[in-house]
């Protein structure tokens, strides 16, 4: 009920603030319950202040800033109750190189701290280079997928394969 949701909000919000700072390399952010006094009816708003900028609602940030902020929220919920596996399907697509590096730093740290195993689907060569191992999915025969273990050089070629 309400009590559990309030407690979850407090935990997620505290993780969220820390994760935002790690992903943005500074700044600050917080969650707010809006539109109703009862947490079970309220909406979740996000107020974010990228380093050196004024605080803004999520909707006024840039595309990449929004994606990075939403990623911090997802990880804040994840860290509240870490699962044995975490799968991320192209979450790095809108990010620039330095944000991709910080995201991979965070993933490497979380893999250490929580024993969680991470699967990351990506087209980004920087992310590929940060993985412990890589699998390539190919369609040598059109319409039929094959999974092969690859090294980084092959992976980059694979991303170019028709």
């Amino acid at each position: 009920g309400r009590g559990r949701l309030r407690a979850a909000f407090a935990t997620v919000n505290s993780h969220f603030g820390t994760l935002f700072q790690r992903l943005f390399g500074g700044g600050s952010a917080e969650l707010q319950l809006v539109e109703a006094d009862d947490p079970l009816e309220a909406g979740l708003e996000i107020l974010a202040k990228p380093p050196g900028k004024k605080p803004q609602l999520l909707s006024l940030l840039s595309g990449g800033e929004q994606a990075l902020t939403a990623t911090a929220l997802i990880f804040a919920v994840f860290l509240t109750n870490p699962a044995p596996i975490c799968v991320l399907d192209e979450v790095d697509a809108p990010l620039d190189d330095s944000n991709v590096e910080r995201l991979c730093d965070l993933l490497a740290d979380m893999a250490q701290e929580t024993q969680t195993r991470f699967l990351m689907i990506t087209h980004n060569p920087i992310s590929m280079a940060r993985m412990d191992r890589l699998f390539g999915v190919t369609m040598v025969e059109r319409g039929v997928s094959q999974l092969v273990s690859v090294d980084l050089a092959t992976a980059e070629q694979l991303a170019e394969a028709v």
Partner: protein
């Protein structure tokens, strides 16, 4: 609980038997557009008890069975299994004390799907509870689908609150 290995055959574009070892740390999955990367993630969600075919980008649940290509006929069944180690304590009786558990789900066209744990048939709920107790499962916040980040950004605040409920 630790996830060790995923095996699939006949599931979407993975017609041939395929095995993905899930080792500790960060495992990257790469490949051209349309080659089957997201299908792999859906196989994992499916074996953990996903009941909505729409959330697997399909019409009916039979859409997870290989539908044929220009060179191969469609298949009639699909099977996915996941091997886990260090299972939680409160397992069903026939599994108590096992180090490893193999959870399998099989579907036959127009006949629905069945679940097994270490070879014995179980209910969908048994599988769903096993994973939910480990903060995992098909709808877990740790399974971030392609485009889901965009959905969170576009969602109205009322909808976004649902994410918190996962954490409660």
């Amino acid at each position: 609980m630790k996830f060790e290995r995923l095996r699939l055959a006949g599931f979407k574009t993975f017609v041939e038997p395929t095995e993905l070892v899930i080792a500790p740390g960060l495992t990257g999955v790469v490949g051209p557009n349309g080659c089957g990367k997201s299908n792999l993630v859906e196989a994992l969600r499916w074996v953990m008890g996903e009941t909505s075919s729409k959330s697997l980008r399909g019409g009916g649940m039979d859409d997870v069975i290989f539908g044929g290509s220009t060179t191969r006929p469609e298949r009639n069944h699909a099977e996915v299994s996941i091997r886990i180690s260090e299972p939680p304590d409160d397992m069903p009786a026939h599994l108590a004390g096992s180090d490893h558990i193999e959870i399998a789900r099989k579907i036959v066209r127009e006949q629905g799907s069945t679940y097994r744990m270490n070879g014995r048939e179980v209910r969908a709920r048994d599988v769903q509870i096993l994973f939910a107790d480990a903060a995992s499962g098909a709808r877990s916040p740790s399974m971030v689908r392609q485009g889901q980040i965009g959905e969170i950004i576009a969602a109205k605040p009322q909808h976004r609150r649902r994410i918190l409920e996962d954490a409660a």
